[in-house]
């Protein structure tokens, strides 16, 4: 009846796609017929489609965790104190490019990069400054770092020691997800095998010594930002997760000893319902794989916990105030999808790192969602929606199809080596760009509803003098430290890297005697070598 009415009525004759932003075709209406029939699902119960906590946000709101870092450790320390004073509930460190690439501020290729897209950390001395006056026993900290992740975690442990806090009390998250670096973000240094060894070393070490630490944040964010579809983000991320599980099992660890400390990180893009479905599907797939394929016994091993960041790529340099609206909608999707923690992007991040004002507005957007809108009062409020349930199943189906393809190629690392993920992502990115060019998708202010004269937004500038100051600082550290102890620690690390010992204690020793990040990486590069990708266009 409705179908006939719909088909005989008129539809808009614009050129605009009615599929999701990822290209999943949508029906104009979903009814009972489309909704999957299954047993009633409940939050806090397997397979956790409706959330991992029986009490949802009634029990505890999500953690408002704004990713932040710029210039020097001193300036970033000031920003952290500002954010904490404004009600932020956890820290999240953004490092600059040289730090992310494991090189010191005085390396020739660090020129022009120091302190630009995050904070510059060269040695324990900088880390001490970064967390000066911040009680590491009381807050949790997330660190977005991958190839050199083990080094930065050791620096954090060492700073906590100096504050008198034992590692066993530390809470936080290390991104430490090297697979998505090969797939999407491309901040790899070592080849895949030694890279995986370092990841497993840190997971194994933390299981014993830093038990409250999330040892890895398996990330779809960068995969999505590189241009993937929602289903690709979901599938590639969970496939990476399983590859880490396989690697830990191979090391001889027991699934229930590490699985509950694996955490995830997803993008919240602008296509509202698709994102909510993605989050719900992620929990269900992971729970099933962990219980059924890996035989995890403990419930906490089945639960997929995740952080979300709103989509940087959805923001526009044109009419940037619109980014506040975009971010609010994306954040709402993350909350309706049951995220454990959230970063909301600032409106000016498409141009530069956020100013104090823009950073605060972004945080306020989360507070508004949490306290004004009422969305946190009811658990999984969209559960049972014909549309959402059907889309959740579709996400799951598409992810499973990708798992099969990856398995056929021989697993995640072989798929990286043949450029499978890279090609899939580049294809999706190009397809989307073509849709924009053909105006089959509109971005307000970019390919429609544009204005000619836009007043420039005030943006954060990084003082170019900072680079030479940071270079002087690292020179100072090298001059002051006990050179003999430092070179001994580095040579022991080199020896251990050539063997099979867990490298964490060796890295911690080197960090404690103020070996720099670049020196520690160099010691490992001498043994492991470096990786170059064959670029796929």
């Amino acid at each position: 009846m409705w179908r006939e009415d719909f088909e005989s009525g008129s539809v808009r004759d614009d050129n605009i796609e009615t599929s999701t932003i990822s290209g999943i075709p949508l029906q104009p209406l979903y009814t009972r017929e489309d909704a999957p029939r299954r047993e009633e699902e409940f939050p806090g119960q397997f397979p956790y489609t409706r959330g991992i906590h029986p009490s949802g946000y009634r029990g505890r709101l999500w953690t408002m965790r704004q990713f932040s870092g710029f210039a020097t450790a001193e300036e970033t320390n000031r920003r952290y104190k500002y954010l904490l004073a404004n009600g932020q509930t956890g820290l999240s460190v953004a490092f600059d490019m040289p730090t992310l690439m494991g090189q010191d501020s005085d390396a020739p290729t660090s020129r022009g990069e120091v302190g630009h897209c995050g904070v510059a950390i060269d040695s324990l001395a900088d880390m001490e400054t970064l967390f000066d006056g911040i009680p590491l026993g009381e807050i949790t900290t997330s660190m977005t770092i991958n190839s050199p992740a083990a080094i930065l975690l050791c620096m954090y442990i060492a700073v906590a020691e100096e504050q008198g806090i034992p590692a066993s009390k530390l809470g936080g998250t290390l991104q430490n997800d090297i697979l998505k670096e090969f797939i999407a973000q491309k901040e790899f240094i070592f080849p895949p095998a030694p890279s995986m060894r370092l990841v497993v070393d840190s997971i194994e070490y933390c299981a014993k010594e830093v038990p409250k630490w999330n040892t890895i944040s398996i990330s779809g964010y960068h995969i999505r930002e590189a241009g993937s579809t929602a289903a690709q983000e979901l599938a590639f991320t969970l496939a990476d997760g399983m590859a880490y599980v396989d690697a830990c099992l191979e090391r001889g660890m027991h699934i229930d000893d590490f699985a509950s400390r694996l955490s995830f990180f997803f993008d919240a893009h602008i296509d509202f319902f698709e994102e909510i479905a993605k989050f719900r599907a992620a929990r269900r797939i992971w729970a099933r794989w962990m219980r059924e394929r890996y035989g995890a016994q403990q419930e906490r091993s089945w639960k997929l916990r995740f952080h979300t960041q709103t989509a940087g790529v959805s923001l526009t340099a044109q009419q940037p105030e619109l980014n506040i609206a975009r971010t609010a909608i994306e954040a709402l999707a993350a909350v309706l999808g049951g995220t454990q923690s959230l970063h909301t992007n600032a409106m000016d991040e498409v141009l530069a790192l956020p100013t104090d004002k823009a950073a605060r507005l972004a945080l306020r957007t989360q507070q508004l969602l949490a306290y004004e809108t009422g969305v946190a009062n009811t658990i999984d409020p969209l559960g049972g929606s014909y549309f959402i349930e059907s889309l959740t199943d579709e996400m799951e189906r598409q992810a499973e199809a990708y798992f099969k393809r990856i398995e056929e190629i021989g697993g995640v690392i072989p798929a990286i080596e043949v450029g499978f993920f890279q090609k899939e992502i580049a294809d999706a990115a190009f397809r989307y760009q073509q849709e924009l060019e053909q105006k089959r998708r509109l971005v307000v202010g970019v390919n429609e509803f544009t204005v000619d004269d836009e007043p420039a937004l005030e943006i954060l500038r990084i003082d170019p003098r900072l680079e030479s100051e940071q270079v002087a600082r690292v020179h100072g550290v090298r001059a002051k430290r006990d050179a003999a102890k430092c070179s001994r620690a580095l040579s022991q690390l080199r020896k251990a890297a050539a063997g099979t010992d867990n490298l964490m204690p060796y890295i911690l020793d080197a960090v404690r005697v103020y070996a720099t990040e670049g020196e520690i990486m160099q010691a490992m590069i001498e043994v492991f070598g470096t990786y170059t990708e064959t670029a796929v266009v």
């Binding site: 992310l100 022009g112 930002e225 990115a429 266009v537």
Partner: protein, 131 residues
Amino acid sequence: MRIVVAKVGLDGHDRGVKVVARALRDAGYEVIYTGLRQTPEMVVDAALQEDAQVIGLSIHSGAHMTLFPAVVDELKRRKATDIVVFGGGIIPEDDIATLKKRGVAEIFTPGTPLQDIVEWLRQRFPEKTSS
């Protein structure tokens, strides 16, 4: 006409550069993508080896004010100033004028239609459009 497309700087954000490379290829240009983390010396080497007339640079790390002019300077040093340099990435408005003064021919910022880049090349090199 040959165009060397390169990512300079340390960041690995290669979505934009790959999309642009494909679009230029589809527009009939011969495109050589160098891959990530190219130093100015490596970019100029590639351009000379490939006998390219144009270099397209991409960066998202904020180091454009150092690295874009460094490519121009390297071209001067190698006496290859006939090679035209353009760039793209997250580049604030104020920086664009400075970069142009320093010898970068054009800067394309986020949201630029691919067609605009192709058009710009066609106008700049009307005789060399192959398709």
